[in-house]
Amino acid sequence: MKFSIPFNRRVFRDFGLFVVPALIEHQGRSLYMPMIIDSAASYLTVRPDVFAQLGITPIRKAPLITASERTEASLGQVEKVTAGGRCSAVNVKVISISLPEALPAEGLLGASFLRNFLVSMDYDTGKFELTTK
């Protein structure tokens, strides 16, 4: 089934980014945060303080290449991530990195979530859709 996912229109207009409120559920915690749809990120990505507050246990360190450096990041897994209310994935891998303060979101919805869906982004009509497999 195909679902149209609501996103932040102002961020889309100003920066050309699709930012959706994603629900992360883990260890009895349920947290919505604005997340950038980012197919260039391998994993769901959150800042270290949120990673800790969600009670995520690091599985290992993952080598990480960003636009400007090569480093390492803590890699863990959360129980469930949902976008748009009905598009959910379970056991989603997540990394913890320091994101820029000026980012208009709290993290990135990367491939560890997006891989569970067919992803459609139409920049002309302003439409973001996920189709369940």
């Binding site: 100003d14 009895g28 919505y32 290449i65 980012l103």
Partner: protein, 79 residues
């Protein structure tokens, strides 16, 4: 605590970090809730997340942290 729409809360708490308990969603998006904590210091708000374990929370910044002409190039990660 007073339950308000998220839009009203954003208007009442401009340019602040917000932690909201979500009481109602619309199309999977937080629609109504009440403020658990608001402020200018991100760390103080983040620390409340772990203390509110059984609640549905919404954490975000109510302002726009970058000017509209800003370009973003985001990270890649190896598996």
């Amino acid at each position: 605590m007073k339950t308000l729409t998220i839009k009203t809360i954003e208007r009442d708490f401009p340019n602040q970090w917000l932690l909201i308990e979500v009481t109602e969603t619309k199309d999977g998006v937080p629609f109504k809730g009440h403020v658990i904590k608001a402020g200018n210091k991100r760390q103080e708000i983040v620390e409340e997340i772990g203390k509110n374990k059984s609640k549905r929370l919404f954490f975000f910044f109510s302002g726009m942290p970058a000017s509209p002409d800003t370009a973003f190039a985001l990270p890649l990660a190896f598996k």
